[in-house]
């Protein structure tokens, strides 16, 4: 029994891993399906005589539908699961058990970060493969290289989101507080990114990279955000360790 196994058991015995994989798989399967039959769905709904005409769906639409869903619901689930792993100081007695037995907070944060990020990336991979398959069947095959690049950038964004949660948990104590702060910061980034050219530098841009790349956006346009995300992830983790060491119980 060690801290790596502790984090793995936290995911499996609490069904958090099932929830995470389930959410991404669900949207991976339903996203392209929704895109393919959206016109039929709208036609079946009483629109008061208004007829909605949509262009024929393309592979990019199927992937975009999937990415749109996981960028919201999927991200919330990832942040909540990460917050529950990092907020060890939320209950003093449980924190005392770990903090008095490790040589530093880093010993606790590193396994929690690696295992949680690994689970989030596995969920993204599962959902993306499901969306890829379903899009290929219903709408036509999306470009392979761009799909792989988009999945990689999405995984990098999740790694950043988990690191940001670790930093938030070092600033506030509760699980919900840490998740709320993280989601608030990510939402603010997304709003800021939509307001002007600064968006190409922000990590939240990478959450939609998979859809953008499949839709024809140049991969090079994501380089600034990629660089900032890598640096931001390292900085957030370092900040979490430093602030965690300073925190008293």
């Amino acid at each position: 029994m060690n801290l790596w196994r502790l984090e793995w058991l936290r995911l499996t015995r609490t069904r958090r891993l099932v929830a995470l994989l389930g959410v991404y798989a669900f949207f991976g399967l339903t996203g392209p399906l929704t895109a393919r039959y959206l016109e039929d769905i709208l036609g079946a709904v009483d629109t008061g005589g208004v007829r909605v005409e949509l262009p024929d769906p393309r592979p990019a639409d199927g992937i975009a539908q999937y990415v749109g869903n996981i960028s919201q619901v999927g991200l919330i689930v990832v942040v909540l699961i990460a917050a529950s792993a990092f907020a060890v100081d939320a209950r003093r007695e449980m924190a005392v058990f770990l903090r008095t037995r490790v040589s530093g907070v880093r010993d606790v944060i590193v396994p929690a970060y690696v295992v949680t990020t690994g689970a989030a990336v596995a969920a993204l991979l599962l959902g993306s493969l499901a969306a890829w398959y379903e899009t290929g069947v219903l709408l036509g095959p999306p470009p392979v290289a761009r799909m792989l690049t988009g999945i990689g950038l999405g995984a990098l964004f999740l790694a950043f989101a988990v690191a940001a949660t670790a930093l938030a948990a070092a600033v506030v104590r509760g699980v919900l507080a840490a998740a709320g702060v993280t989601l608030g910061v990510l939402l603010a980034m997304a709003v800021l990114g939509g307001a002007g050219d600064v968006g190409r530098w922000l990590p939240t841009t990478l959450s939609g990279a998979l859809a953008g790349l499949v839709d024809g956006t140049a991969p090079s346009s994501y380089l600034p955000a990629t660089a900032v995300t890598v640096v931001g992830t390292a900085a957030a983790l370092a900040g979490a360790v430093v602030l965690g060491e300073r925190r008293e119980l």
Partner: protein
């Protein structure tokens, strides 16, 4: 000394939680740190365990940090772990110089062998306390810091935990506001009030030095009449009513009282239930020092 502090202080803003504490825990001692709620006991233990920083002062410990173990007052663990996993994790984290068979041995010692593979979410408060103790001692620490280890338990659970503490081989510093517990298991005592250490030393020396010769007399009838009569005796130094049926009779000497007290009680037709010399206990001394 296994553990000592010099002028240890801790402030929270304007509030002084610890004020120049000079603690001295002898090697091999079971040291009882007593004090009312808010005296600074938990703060002191948290500082000694490295969970908080002192505002000033120094700490000197006779063993490495990894050989110090702290048990909080109400230990809690992830409810989806089993008891064995909790102790195994504790054993692994402290890199204990003891074999893995020690895990099952401490579970057995704490009476948790049968429940070791159950998830701790279903444990009772007493079982959690014993599990906390198992996780604390599994690494064979040289210094144990126990924060109110029995105060949240029912009488049976308290009895079990006190018996376990009494058998621990390590130097132990335990805090408590239950003075009977401290008097039972500790050989050295420190009395803390408002962040200041009022007394520190062997328990026996504290009690002997403060002992006042007295008798405890329990009667069937209301005690007022008997109390009045005893107060007229020249060898009686004080008479206090503990309750409606009990008197605490201070005397010049126990030897004198052995002879004269039964005679005085008989002279006033007192219906005596019991009559015994009253030993000074920690509660008396504590109240005297902290009041």
């Amino acid at each position: 000394m296994m553990l000592s502090t010099a002028a240890l202080s801790r402030r929270y803003g304007d509030h002084v939680a610890l004020d120049g504490v000079d603690l001295a825990v002898p090697d091999g001692a079971v040291y009882g740190l007593v004090g009312p709620n808010g005296a600074g006991k938990t703060t002191l233990l948290a500082i000694l365990a490295g969970l908080r920083r002192p505002s000033s002062g120094t700490i000197s410990c006779g063993c490495p940090r990894r050989r110090v173990a702290l048990l909080p007052d109400t230990p809690q663990f992830d409810p989806w772990l089993t008891g064995r996993e909790v102790v195994a994790l504790a054993w692994q984290l402290v890199a204990a110089p003891v074999p893995a068979s020690r895990i099952d041995a401490v579970l057995q010692d704490m009476g948790l062998a049968d429940a070791a593979d159950r998830r701790v979410g279903g444990y009772s408060r007493g079982m959690l306390q014993r599990l906390g103790l198992a996780a604390t001692v599994v690494g064979d620490p040289e210094l144990l810091l126990l924060d109110e280890p029995a105060s949240a338990l029912d009488p049976a659970g308290r009895r079990e935990v006190l018996d376990l503490i009494a058998r621990l081989p390590a130097t132990t510093l335990l805090s408590s506001h239950i003075l009977a517990d401290v008097q039972e298991v500790c050989d050295t005592v420190g009395i803390l009030r408002a962040g200041r250490l009022l007394y520190q030393g062997p328990l026996d020396a504290l009690l002997v030095g403060r002992a006042v010769p007295a008798y405890q007399v329990r009667l069937h009838e209301p005690v007022d009449r008997v109390a009045e009569r005893l107060r007229t005796e020249p060898w009686v130094t004080a008479v206090e009513q503990d309750n409606g049926q009990s008197l605490r009779v201070g005397v010049r000497s126990l030897a004198e009282a052995e002879l004269l007290l039964p005679r005085a009680l008989a002279a006033c037709d007192a219906r005596v239930i019991s009559l015994a010399p009253r030993a000074a206990d920690l509660e008396d001394v504590f109240l005297e020092l902290t009041s």
